[in-house]
């Protein structure tokens, strides 16, 4: 038995099924093309490489734009030519044209032209590569260490960065605070697997490879927040490993340095004092708070190397001076407070950023959820069974099974850590 195929006589003449399919395919193609084109026009695109906000990203942009336009025009010409030739010379049963035997001018011409084009792209590319690799004009050094799944920043002792230099190292995480209009050199390392540091508006990517130090120039024209994310797949929560650069004007950056290196402030509020003890009992084995001492006056030193695969956990001495936490994925600020800072004019940004997180602006919900059960918020290979199968080491922060009142005490204490 054969199938029932509508015969040409039965099918409507003006809308053959073939024509309908063709029209549908055309529609789908146009829609896809439009979507792709529109996707490039997002207005709120904090990680848009086409909007450089610093000298280094601009060098890349200046290099890629002409190449992009020239290649685009050539691409269109080639496709048009292919289309024309396919249509013009399609087999209509015509006779084969006479077959010639090569035309030197047609062979050598395109070779010379391509070589010239490649040279035209190659020379500026190499020049830009060298420009971006320069380290001799550095004004401020920050050591950037990647680990699953957050970035740590250490400001080594140095004469640069701030007005009086940096006399005592600073350790922070998630948000890299730098002075604007300054040649910052990030020295990128890794404590576990390969990660990659990328702030699209400030420069290209640079891999963080264990055992190596790779340098990346960063410079922001203006104070503000510049977002990025880890761009080398690094395990379970790779997608939740983000970072921001917060550029401040020089005066405010100097204040930031003073704040970060200030001696430990013992909490005064009774709730926070209880919280300090709860923190010491539950968190200090992993998290360092500089200057914190036990009742005998002995400094409390964290030992993350005994509990975490990467051998490190964020330094919480000044947690509330940052806006985000846990791989810069969650906000420490409520949405309203955050928008006020992040969308501030460049002249006002530094001042607002330095205000840090106040009790009123604290996004307590996410912080609370994190302390209650971190792996539920961010998959981290840190369940009891996984830790047991991994020589007692976790990747990321485990669930500490604290009670609600303990969490409240800890938050009361953490809020005082500016």
């Amino acid at each position: 038995m054969t199938r029932n195929i509508p015969s040409p006589e039965v099918a409507p003449v003006h809308d053959s099924p073939r024509r309908v399919t063709r029209r549908r395919v055309g529609l789908a193609a146009t829609a896809t093309g439009l979507l792709v084109a529109l996707a490039g026009c997002a207005r709120n695109a904090p990680q848009d490489t086409f909007q450089p906000a610093g000298e280094n990203a601009r060098s890349i942009d200046n290099l890629q734009r002409p190449v992009f336009y020239i290649a685009g025009v050539i691409g269109i010409l080639v496709f048009a030519a292919v289309g024309y030739i396919v249509w013009r010379f399609k087999d209509r049963g015509q006779e084969l044209p006479i077959q010639g035997h090569g035309k030197p001018i047609l062979e050598i011409g395109p070779i010379v032209l391509s070589a010239a084009l490649l040279l035209g792209i190659g020379v500026p590319t190499v020049a830009t590569v060298f420009k971006l690799a320069k380290t001799s004009d550095t004004q401020c050094v920050v050591i950037v260490t990647g680990q699953q799944w957050w970035w740590e920043y250490t400001y080594p002792v140095q004469p640069g960065c701030a007005a009086g230099g940096i006399k005592q190292p600073i350790v922070t995480s998630g948000q890299l605070v730098v002075p604007a209009k300054t040649h910052v050199l990030a020295e990128i390392q890794s404590n576990d697997v390969i990660h990659s540091y990328w702030i699209p508006k400030l420069n290209g990517k640079r891999d963080a490879v264990p055992g190596r130090t790779h340098t990346l120039r960063l410079e922001a024209d203006q104070p503000g927040i510049y977002s990025g994310q880890c761009t080398e797949f690094c395990g379970l929560s790779h997608a939740r490993m983000r970072m921001q650069v917060a550029a401040l004007d020089q005066a405010h950056f100097d204040t930031w340095v003073t704040n970060q290196t200030a001696p430990y402030q013992k909490p005064t509020d009774p709730a926070a004092i209880t919280g300090e003890a709860t923190f010491q009992a539950n968190c200090s084995r992993c998290h360092q708070v500089d200057g914190m001492a036990d009742s005998a006056g002995k400094p409390i030193i964290s030992q993350p190397e005994l509990y975490v695969v990467s051998g490190s956990a964020p330094n919480l001495s000044h947690l509330m001076s940052r806006n985000t936490f846990a791989g810069a994925v969650w906000d420490l600020l409520t949405p309203a407070c955050r928008d006020k800072v992040w969308h501030a004019k460049p002249e006002e940004f530094s001042e607002l950023y330095l205000q840090g997180v106040s009790r009123e602006c604290l996004n307590e919900k996410d912080l609370r959820d994190w302390i209650r059960d971190a792996p539920a918020k961010k998959p981290m290979y840190s369940s009891d069974a996984q830790i047991a199968s991994n020589n007692g080491l976790s990747r990321g922060m485990p669930n500490l099974k604290l009670k609600d009142d303990q969490i409240s005490q800890i938050i009361d204490y953490l809020v005082t850590r500016k």
Partner: protein, 381 residues
């Protein structure tokens, strides 16, 4: 009554039964248990195959016409010569030797036996594939040669490479490059001469290659028995206080040893001693400094360079810690150091510090034994 195939499987089943009984009775514990289970598995599988084979009468001979296995044209020829039995004998011998001496021989024996079995099975099948000898030869080589050629080539190449390496390891370090440079040139010239004379006989080329191979393999055998040249060892006194404070001790100094480490291109900092002065250079920080910030918990790479006129070593003084967990306080002053570095030499050191400076009673420092007034500080946040 028994077809050819079922005889083979019956024999294999009987062998598996014996092996299971012998092994099961002689081996205890978990390995014995696992081995016995495995052998029982093999026994059951072989028994099932025997049964199937028996039931289907090899799948090709009508059960009533048994004579055909002897009278058919395909069966008329006598078996040809084959290396398989010899190979199998070698395999069995290796098994026996391996069981008494080194496991490597035993594993080799298993491998040789497997190869022999495959070869034997395919040739035996091929000889009776049809009554036509030429066709039979073609069909069995089509089955076997795709495996034979690579195997024989790999074994031959392995032998040549092994002999080569023995020769190179026997000749002294400076002679080897010269000799093999000359040898390489000879091969090139020989190749050129042969290529330029297309009418040379194949047998002559084969002869030359055979003599060369024989020479190489026998030289390799002789030199392997004689043993390789002595290769110097360069011990690194990692954390021996007796050595770390010494400015002269160290039997061996290998200036270039760490120069081959690729990661040398990205040190955390470079520490230099020059004219009795110590300095550290960090990337991005201009000029010589007296301190270097070391990331806690991370892997740090320091490059130590001796630009002095005498051999020097660098010593890392890694703080002072008091451990009172056992009741009586014990004070520890861990140290680590480089080897003695010749003038102009560099040494690479990779280390990790888990305790911050704040945890230590004294700062972390870098010193050079013999230069008492120079100290570099390592700051660990």
């Amino acid at each position: 009554m028994f077809t050819t195939g079922s005889k083979l499987f019956l024999g294999a089943t009987a062998l598996a039964l014996v092996a299971t009984l012998v092994f099961g009775a002689s081996h205890g514990g978990e390995p014995g248990y696992l081995g016995t289970i495995t052998l029982i598995g093999a026994l059951l599988a072989l028994a099932a195959l025997t049964a199937i084979n028996f039931f289907t009468r090899d799948g090709n001979t009508p059960s009533m016409e048994q004579d055909i296995t002897r009278t058919a044209a395909a069966a008329a020829r006598a078996p040809r010569r084959s290396v398989a039995p010899v190979l199998a004998a070698v395999g069995v011998a290796l098994l026996a030797i391996g069981a008494e001496t080194r496991p490597a021989f035993f594993k080799g024996g298993v491998l040789v036996l497997l190869v022999a079995a495959a070869e034997w099975l395919v040739t035996a099948w091929g000889e009776r594939a049809s009554g036509d000898a030429t066709y039979n030869a073609a069909v069995s080589s089509r089955m076997l040669q795709p495996f034979q050629f690579p195997l024989v080539a790999a074994a031959g190449l392995g032998l040549v490479i092994y002999s080569f390496s023995r020769v190179m390891l026997w000749i002294n370090k400076s002679g080897a490059p010269v000799i093999f440079g000359v040898l390489g040139a000879l091969v090139l010239v020989g190749g050129y001469l042969l290529a330029s004379r297309p009418d040379v006989k194949t047998s002559m080329i084969t002869g030359i290659a055979a003599i060369a191979t024989l020479g190489l393999v026998s030289a390799g055998a002789v030199m392997a028995i004689d043993g390789q040249r002595t290769i110097e060892k360069h011990p690194t006194p990692a954390s021996d206080p007796a050595v770390c404070t010494e400015s002269t001790k160290d039997a061996h100094v290998d200036k270039r040893a760490p120069g081959s480490v690729a990661s040398i291109s990205s040190p955390t900092a470079i520490v230099v001693v020059k004219d009795g002065k110590l300095a550290v250079y960090s990337q991005g920080l201009r000029g010589a400094r007296a301190d270097v910030t070391i990331i806690r918990g991370a892997t740090n790479n320091l490059l130590f360079r001796n630009d002095d006129h005498v051999a020097r070593r660098f010593t890392l003084n890694l703080g002072t810690f008091t451990d009172s967990s056992s009741g009586t306080p014990v004070t520890k002053k861990p140290q680590a150091c480089t080897t003695l570095i010749e003038p102009g030499g560099e040494v690479w050191k990779t280390f990790r510090l888990t305790q911050p400076s704040a945890a230590s009673a004294t700062p972390y420092t870098i010193t050079v034994p013999g230069i008492s007034d120079q100290v570099l500080t390592m700051v660990v946040p």
